[in-house]
Amino acid sequence: MIDISHVNKWYGPTFQVLKDCTTNVAKGEVVVVCGPSGSGKSTLIKCVNALEPFQEGQIILDGIKVNDPKTDLPKLRARVGMVFQHFELFPHLRIIENLCLAQEKVLGRSHDEAMAKGDKLLDRVGLKAHATKYPAELSGGQQQRVAIARALAMDPIAMLFDEPTSALDPEMISEVLDVMVDLAHEGMTMMVVTHEMGFASKVANRVIFMDKGEIVEDALKTDFFGSPRSERAQKFLSKILSH
């Protein structure tokens, strides 16, 4: 589904953020990407839907080459859902309008169709009662659930999560993770940048560990948590799991 091969990316002439990154996410697979901050994990996931350009290598998404100038990027992006660290709901639109906008403007659905879909998804994330509120009237956890619903409204073939719980109060993390776990169980293809190792051990198929722009470890979940091969990953794990 998502094929990343030999991706290199530089900021400016000398600073390399991604070094020869190669991995893939199969259909229905949940892959967690972790690593220290600055390791390039968010950059890598943003390369997948071309929010970030890269200079070398290629990414193929559902058979379509992302870094091909001929690719219709808006169309391709509409097929991949993305959830951001800071939710990025559109503050001037009501919750339901947040869910309908792209359905109507990008997919060309009728307003009624979009509303019906939006209602269903809000119900699914338990926020139907908030449909006519504005984002600023909701808690962080609620906003992030809306953001997931907004992405799902586009009927994506895969979902990208860029640290979806990093900006949340601890008590709100679980309500967002619950939605994500449900999604994973339904067979959604997911690539998730997160430090939530509980989530990783519960639903991930594979765990990718990145450091300094490199994919240091790309292993099945059991192998990763059982006995990470690289010393760097061992250290990272021991630090974040020790509390």
Binding site: M82, F84, F90, H92, L101, K105, K133, A136, E137
Partner: protein, 243 residues
């Protein structure tokens, strides 16, 4: 000082034979309002286009925006009006110049366009600042949903940016109204022009300019009230000022 106050002068017939001095001032007021409104529309349209250009990642676009803004904001308004009114027709091919000079209401159109373009540079700078003040993630979120750049601006960035710059925009609207008085120099008999004419005919200089001042004040009170009303009706529940 030997000055004969005469507040009844407004109700005395003016020398043109058409109505009173008050009618003279009122026709000037009307022309000021017309010129200001047209100039403001022009300022908003061109200011929006150039403001967007300045916020685009494209180097060419931001250079065009930069050049436009510096051209219109670094020349005194008076010089610009002279340029459009006296110089431009001479620079054009003879027939085009002649056609321009013989346009009916030439001072009106020149004033509205001249003031409008002058003010558009200021609107552009403010709009670009408003767009830049939005979180980067907003654009990413719009892009990730498959919205094109144009759609992202139309539905997400501009509605928020305009809300943010509403207070300084009010000041620019007021400046537009006041700046139309410069058009007296190219023969537009707007409010200031009529006040001066009244003074010349009647020698009641204080009454004439007191009335003109009151009328400018009245327009601007309407503008301020209107903009505040607009600001309030566009306020987003829970967001920044809208509580």
């Amino acid at each position: 000082m030997n000055y004969n106050w005469n507040w009844h002068i407004f109700f005395e017939p003016n020398p043109t034979g058409a109505g009173t001095y008050l009618d003279m001032l009122m026709s000037g007021l009307l022309l000021t309002i017309k010129t200001a409104l047209l100039a403001w529309v022009i300022a908003l349209i061109f200011g929006t286009i150039v403001g967007i250009l300045r916020s685009l990642p494209s180097k060419t676009a931001s250079w065009i925006g930069f050049g436009y803004v510096e051209f219109f904001r670094n020349m005194p308004l008076l010089v610009q009006l002279f340029l459009w009114f006296f110089v431009l027709p001479e620079l054009l091919p003879r027939s085009a110049g002649l056609w321009l000079k013989q346009l009916p209401n030439a001072p009106f159109w020149t004033a509205a366009i001249g003031v409008g373009l002058f003010m558009s540079a200021r609107v552009a700078v403010q709009l670009a600042a408003g767009i830049a003040s939005l979180p980067r993630g907003q654009k990413n979120a719009a892009t990730a949903l498959g919205l094109t750049t144009a759609q992202g601006y139309r539905y997400i960035l501009l509605p928020m940016a305009f809300r943010i710059i509403m207070p300084p925009l009010t000041s620019e609207f007021l400046n537009t109204v006041k700046n139309t008085s410069v058009a007296i120099t190219i023969g537009l008999i707007e409010l200031t022009g009529q006040a001066r004419a009244m003074q010349e005919f009647s020698f009641q200089v204080f009454e004439a300019f007191t009335a003109a001042t009151a009328m400018y004040l009245a327009i601007n009170i309407v503008v301020v009230t209107g903009m505040r009303f607009l600001e309030r009706s566009l306020a987003i529940p829970g967001y920044i000022t809208g509580k």
